[in-house]
């Protein structure tokens, strides 16, 4: 694929978008795992949400 004399500008644009989007997705997944782990740790200590405790 020949992108002409300005190929570097095109490639840098696409790589920058890929890196930022991948970074966002990675951050969202890691953050989700962190919150889930924190909830599980609280559950193991016997701490329940008031709403779920009321439902039991």
């Amino acid at each position: 694929m020949d992108l002409g004399p300005h190929a570097a500008f095109i490639w840098i644009s696409y790589v920058a978008v890929a890196v930022v989007v991948a970074g966002l997705i990675g951050w969202l997944f890691l953050d989700g795992k962190k919150q889930t782990a924190a909830l599980e740790a609280l559950g193991k200590r016997g701490i329940r949400r008031r709403s779920s405790a009321g439902a039991e």
């Binding site: 190929a7 930022v20 889930t36």
Partner: protein
Amino acid sequence: MQTLTQQLANPTRFMDLSARVLPWVAGIAAALIVYGLYLSFFDSPADYQQGETVRIMYIHVPCAWLSMMVYGLIAVSSFGLLVFRHPLADVSAKAAAPIGAAFTFLALLTGSLWGKPMWGTYWVWDARLTSVLILFFLYLGLIALRAAFEDESAGAKLTAVLALVGVTILPIIKFSVNWWNTLHQPSTDFTATVDPSMRWPLLVMALGFTLLFFAMHLKAMRNEVLRRRVKAMRTQAVAGRDRLATQPAE
């Protein structure tokens, strides 16, 4: 009969619904972006004026569109918080801000990388570029203002006020190319000014990026709901411990 927004006012219901919807939205977004990339590189011609650099437009335009759409969503969410006190409105506004900032940054960066070979410069202080830069600073301002408050509720309300004041930047960005003499070209009329061979990849990429944003937004909202649950449970645990400590020993 409850409206969808009323149904989603319950975070537990939102978590159930979003868990089911998220994989589909993310999957369709990924498929559209892969197809859009194929069209952008292998099934669309070079432009008669821009040459191959027209391919930057297939990512620049969706990022620029998202930078404005996401701010619009934050403004609507902020309105929902201040006026209707919708429980998920602030979650939505908070979750969207960093994603919107990232896409605004990408719109500025890819525009700059297109500008150098086409205009001969990475940056000019013209109305369109400057107003989008202000939008980027507004996003950073929303994130910083919220982070500056220890009281989450007060931070949320003030951030919502700033978001609503800042929404005036959207028409300025949109019409800047008509109101002022800018280096940036006028708004694209998709049906009249873009050749169908370039319109199709642009639309596919724009739709793919929009769905990608919604997938990321849903995930960020889910994370925020979990974070608030963790915080509430920790507060509850500390309050319980304090109550036990203040009870007289029998």
